[in-house]
């Protein structure tokens, strides 16, 4: 079904956020899930073989066109971007939240050995982290977790794609 391929391609092109199979199915209507998955795989292969300026990536439980990593210097030149976006402190705080969620601030403070109020606020502002609710303990502290945007920014299909802390340790040794 050539039509389906063109429709999915056009949706991916126009969308601001990664499109999941379910979302595509909602829009397209009668198509089977399996067909959509197959078309997405086909498209990824086509763009991959073409070796053009961008490729189709699976990210945050969806699909999105993204530029090829090796071409990033050109984009940076065009945009005049600063190289780094997150400080080591922010990355550490984000790592604790990503691995320990749902987690309260006191636990993040304890793991990092510093008060994380400032970095936590920064991560909330950047929408990489969100409040998940309140923990049912005295004081009802707020629990934090990562967002869908976190998956998008860090190029993750889902949280399970993160290596476990044990795996990281083994890699290091």
């Amino acid at each position: 079904m050539e039509d389906l391929k063109a429709i999915i391609e056009t949706l991916l092109f126009a969308s601001d956020v990664p499109l999941g199979v379910d979302r595509i199915r909602d829009i397209v209507g009668e198509a089977e899930r399996a067909d959509i998955v197959r078309v997405l795989a086909d498209l990824r292969q086509e763009y991959g073989e073409r070796r053009g300026g961008f490729e189709l990536c699976e990210v945050a439980s969806g699909w999105q066109f993204r530029t090829r990593p090796d071409l990033s210097p050109w984009i940076k030149k065009m945009k005049g971007l600063k190289p780094s976006m997150l400080s080591p402190a922010a990355l550490e705080t984000l790592a604790v939240i990503a691995y320990r969620q749902p987690v309260v601030k006191a636990d993040i403070d304890r793991v990092r050995g510093v008060d994380v109020s400032g970095t936590l606020r920064g991560l909330l502002d950047k929408k990489l982290v969100r409040m998940l609710g309140r923990k049912d303990v005295p004081g009802k502290p707020i629990m934090y977790g990562t967002t869908r945007k976190f998956l998008e920014v860090f190029n993750l299909k889902d949280l399970s794609e993160l290596p476990t802390l044990r795996e990281l340790k083994e890699l290091q040794e």
């Binding site: 092109f13 304890r110 860090f154």
Partner: protein, 247 residues
């Protein structure tokens, strides 16, 4: 004895300790407390002398180190049969945990980050969503109402001429007027209630009447976001019938 002092900004006391352990090639499970405590305190001194903003956490860790060091010097009085925990155990656990997350943070940073290594298309927001944004109503408190009043009052021209008015407004009249208007319109904004070119007095009475009505829960006020228009709704449905019956 000269020590090499590193002055990069550490991410915290644990980071500094890990650095010292690595630098001295120390086994993390068997930390020589005397050496590490000395070096730690020296780093603190240098940081202090340079007026670096020394967070309280560094000082807490310093006291923890000194405490562990002193505990290790004391002979243990406990039963030798019983395995007493190493005074360093807690600290080691904390260091290992922190090290694991530090590695996890580095691993996150090594990924292909959106906006740094890879980029997506920037889709412009559609024209429609720009203009026809849906109003979302949130219940507001008396304070927002007072703020709205202040904005209105500030916008009035200050008249120099003093006027003695004979017409007397009463609060109960105003309350009745508001409920009457509400029963017809279902919901009204604060501005609607004031009508065209309201006097200072009218604004004050309207506000007081609204505050009274909110207090006795006959009306509820909602606002669509900060500084949005405040809308007044009747709180109870049967009021409609009653007020209509009154006339």
């Amino acid at each position: 004895m000269g020590y090499e002092i590193k002055l990069d900004i550490f991410e915290g006391p644990l980071d500094l300790l890990l650095y010292l352990i690595r630098k001295n090639e120390i086994d993390i499970y068997n930390i020589p407390m005397a050496v590490i405590t000395d070096q730690y305190l020296q780093h603190l001194e240098v940081m202090k002398s340079l007026n670096l903003d020394l967070a309280g956490e560094y000082l807490v860790m310093a006291s923890t180190l000194v405490h562990i060091k002193s505990r290790m010097l004391l002979p243990t009085e406990t039963d030798p049969e019983e395995d007493e925990e190493d005074p360093r155990a807690d600290l080691v656990r904390q260091l290992l945990e922190y090290q694991a997350f530090k590695e996890a943070a580095l691993n996150l940073d090594r990924r292909l980050l959106l906006g740094r290594d890879v980029f997506k298309r920037e889709v412009q927001p559609e024209l429609e969503t720009l203009s026809g944004e849906e109003e979302e109503l949130v219940e507001i408190s008396v304070f927002e109402l007072v703020e709205a009043f202040q904005r209105m009052a500030a916008g009035l021209p200050r008249e120099e001429i003093m006027e003695i008015e004979t017409e007397k407004l009463s609060l109960s009249d105003m309350i009745n007027e508001i409920m009457e208007k509400l029963s017809e319109a279902k919901d009204l904004s604060f501005m609607d209630l004031l009508g065209e070119s309201p006097t200072r007095k009218k604004i004050i009475y309207t506000l007081l009447a609204l505050l009274e009505l909110m207090k006795i829960r006959l009306v509820r006020a909602f606002q669509s976001g900060p500084f949005g228009p405040i809308r007044i709704f009747p709180a109870v449905e049967e009021w409609n019938g009653r007020s209509q019956g009154d006339h």
